[in-house]
């Protein structure tokens, strides 16, 4: 039985080594703008959002949701939001995420479609995978508001 207990211990160790590792990495300093710089500052982010818009238009899973929106304002607001979230010197002036998406009934399928397009847009702009991951990490807290959960 001592043997089997130690086996369980090894399994638990293996699993939680990962959790500890992830914990170690998650304390960026207050004024950290390295992600903002990796994204190419505001103009780099604006390019990503522009490409994202083209991908949305071509994506039949989600383009119906965007019919009739004010494209220029959407582009500016999303760019400011990503700029601010990545530690850049911008101020997002649009609505809160819950309010902005409340009437849309966004499904997980649609959320993933948009996430996929965002990743493709970042790839098209040569944003390194590490910066992509860091940006998505910043967006995670918005998920329940956007899905209206």
């Amino acid at each position: 039985m001592g043997l089997s207990a130690s086996k369980t211990y090894i399994a638990v160790l293996l699993i939680f080594a990962g959790l500890v590792l992830s914990g170690c990495q998650s304390h960026p300093s207050e004024s950290d703008n390295s992600l903002y710089l990796q994204l190419g500052e505001r103009s780099g982010i604006a390019d990503v959002v522009e490409d994202l818009l083209y991908l949305i238009v071509a994506d039949e899973r989600i383009n119906h949701q965007f019919k009739g929106i004010d494209v220029a304002q959407f582009h500016r607001h999303l760019t400011d939001q990503l700029c601010e979230l990545s530690g850049g010197p911008c101020t997002y002036s649009g609505r809160g995420m819950r309010e902005a998406h409340s009437a849309m009934g966004i499904t997980n399928t649609q959320f993933n479609a948009l996430a996929e397009n965002l990743i493709l847009a970042m790839e098209a702009n040569q944003i390194p995978p590490v910066a992509q991951n860091r940006l998505i990490k910043q967006l995670l807290p918005l998920y329940p508001d956007i899905r209206h959960l």
């Binding site: 086996k7 090894i10 399994a11 590792l21 998650s26 995978p129 590490v130 991951n133 998505i136």
Partner: protein, 299 residues
Amino acid sequence: MTFFLNKLRARKFLPLLTLGLLASPVAMADVGSRIWATGGVTSIEGSAGGGLVPWAMLGSYADDEEWGGTLALSRAEVDDYTLAVAGAGLNWNNRVEVTVARQTLDLDSLVFALKDGFGLEQDELNQDIFGLKVRLAGDVLYSPWGQWSAGIQHKRQRDFTVPNAIGARDDSGTDVYVSGSKVFFAAVFGRNLLVNATVRGTRANQGGLLGFGGDLNNGYEVMAEGGVGVFINRQWLLGAEYRQKPDNLSFAREDDWWDVFIAWVPDRRLAVTAAFVNLGDVATLKDQQGVYLSLQGSF
């Protein structure tokens, strides 16, 4: 695609975009909408997971408005055995996964031991596994507490003579498990980390290939299984798994399993997994280790 990625100046794209936003029918992506590589691969028991352990993710890329399926062929070649697995799965709305798998274990060198020791002429063991997994809560990417699923694997021996001779009690059995999986973004030097933990109740000997229950223990026991993986990028996942095992037969000691794997997921249609596996002692033959290769197609 390239057309849309062309660099146009913002002024030019505005009218173009408005034109594009005319009514268009809702359509599903061909191979599902979940993010690349989040379907896991087909484990040796058919359920979505890694190689040896089921994970909380459901197979294929079906999301909450979609159907999806997988087909997989896998092969493990260790010192004295070869295991071949053919598996198929369906996923409804990323809620329910139904799988079937056929395992064939070539006994290779054990054939002689069986003949001398038991007078048995058998060179392979076959088992069918019917799996059902339900996503209970959460999303592996987006939920702070990860994704949680529960599943069963009903296993039926097709050749019970050998397991019976070495002391197994039953020719069929049902494993029950609960799994939690989560991706931590930018967790390891900016790479995404996948962590999985599974708890299984089982009576299976060597996963069921040597029957169910035995003389040392005939009841359900709780086993801990787990895995971690790091996404090098969105196409490559490097990781390791561990699977605790029961030890029900006095005929031969049963060891825990572990593997180190690399998975390549060039797009949603294809996943290729290669691993180094260590199965420990298996039916008296010592220290069985070798290579594992698995091909999975999703649709």
